[in-house]
C-alpha cells in the first residue's frame, strides 16, 4: 500500500526555467509534508515543509503547494540551477511519527 506516490521517476529541465515536482498521497490523516533532496552516497537533506493547515510555503527559490482536496502536493524550484540536480523525495507524517516516503524523482537541470 503506497501511501505516498511520486509518479515521475525523472524530470529534465533547462537551467533558469521552473522545475515542478509532484507528489500524491492517500492518507488524509497526514498532517505534515516534507521535501528532501538527496545526492548519491549521502543522506537526504531537508529542503522545505508544509503543515496541512496551509496551502503554500515559500523559502527562497523553493515553494511547496498543498491541495488537500486532491491529496496532492508539488515543489516548485525557480529558477532551476545545475546544482539542483539530485533525487527529490516527498514525505508525509502525522504528529511527529514515522515518515512515509515516495519513490523519488530524479531532477536533471541542464546548462
Amino acid at each position: 500500500d503506497q501511501q505516498v506516490k511520486q509518479n515521475s521517476p525523472s524530470l529534465s529541465v533547462q537551467e533558469g526555467r521552473i522545475s515542478i515536482l509532484n507528489c500524491d498521497y492517500t492518507n488524509s490523516m497526514f498532517d505534515y509534508f516534507l521535501w528532501y533532496k538527496k545526492y548519491p552516497a549521502e543522506g537526504p537533506t531537508f529542503l522545505i515543509s508544509i503543515s496541512s493547515i496551509k496551502d503554500k510555503n515559500e523559502d527562497g527559490r523553493f515553494t511547496v503547494f498543498l491541495n488537500k482536496s486532491a491529496k496532492h502536493l508539488s515543489l516548485h524550484i525557480v529558477p532551476s540551477q545545475p546544482g539542483d540536480s539530485a533525487v527529490y523525495f516527498c514525505a508525509a507524517n502525522r504528529q511527529g511519527g514515522k515518515l512515509i516516503f515516495g519513490q523519488g524523482t530524479e531532477l536533471s537541470v541542464k546548462p
Binding site: G43, F89, G96, K98, L99, G102, G104
Partner: protein, 112 residues
C-alpha cells in the same frame, strides 16, 4: 554544531552474520528514527526511539532490533543477515513530536 553522524560508513558482511550500526543525533534532539533505503526506492521506516524506548515500529521482522542510550545515541542491530538486507541504512533525529527529521549520511551495508 554537529549534525547527525553514523558509523561505519560502509560494511560488508556474509549471510547469517549479525551487524550493529550506530547513530549520534543532532545536538539537542532526543528522538532517533531508523530507515532502510533499497536501491531505487524511498527510505522505509524501521523504528523510532525516544526515552530509550521503541516508540513506533515499521513492517520489519524481529531480526531488526534497536537501542537508545541515555545520551540519545542509538544502535540498530540486524541478526541472521539475508542478501535482501543489503541497503543504505539511514538514521534521522528530531525532537519528540516534531515533524521535521534530519538525516545522517547513512551506512551502506552489503551482504554477500
Amino acid at each position: 554544531d554537529a549534525g547527525v553522524t553514523q558509523s561505519p560508513t560502509h560494511l560488508i558482511k556474509t549471510r547469517g552474520q549479525q551487524v550493529t550500526l550506530r547513530c549520534s543525533p543532532k545536538s539537542g534532539h532526543d528522538t532517533v528514527s531508523w530507515y532502510q533505503q533499497a536501491l531505487g526506492q524511498g527510505p522505509q521506516f524501521i523504528f523510532q526511539y525516544y526515552e530509550e524506548e521503541e516508540r513506533q515500529r515499521g513492517n520489519f521482522p524481529d531480526r531488526f532490533s534497536g537501542h537508545q542510550f541515555p545520551n540519545y545515541s542509538s544502535e540498530l542491530n540486524v541478526n541472521a543477515l539475508l542478501l535482501g538486507d543489503s541497503a543504505l541504512y539511514l538514521c534521522a533525529s528530531s525532537l519528540v513530536n516534531d515533524n521535521e527529521q534530519f538525516f545522517g549520511p547513512g551506512t551502506r551495508l552489503t551482504v554477500l
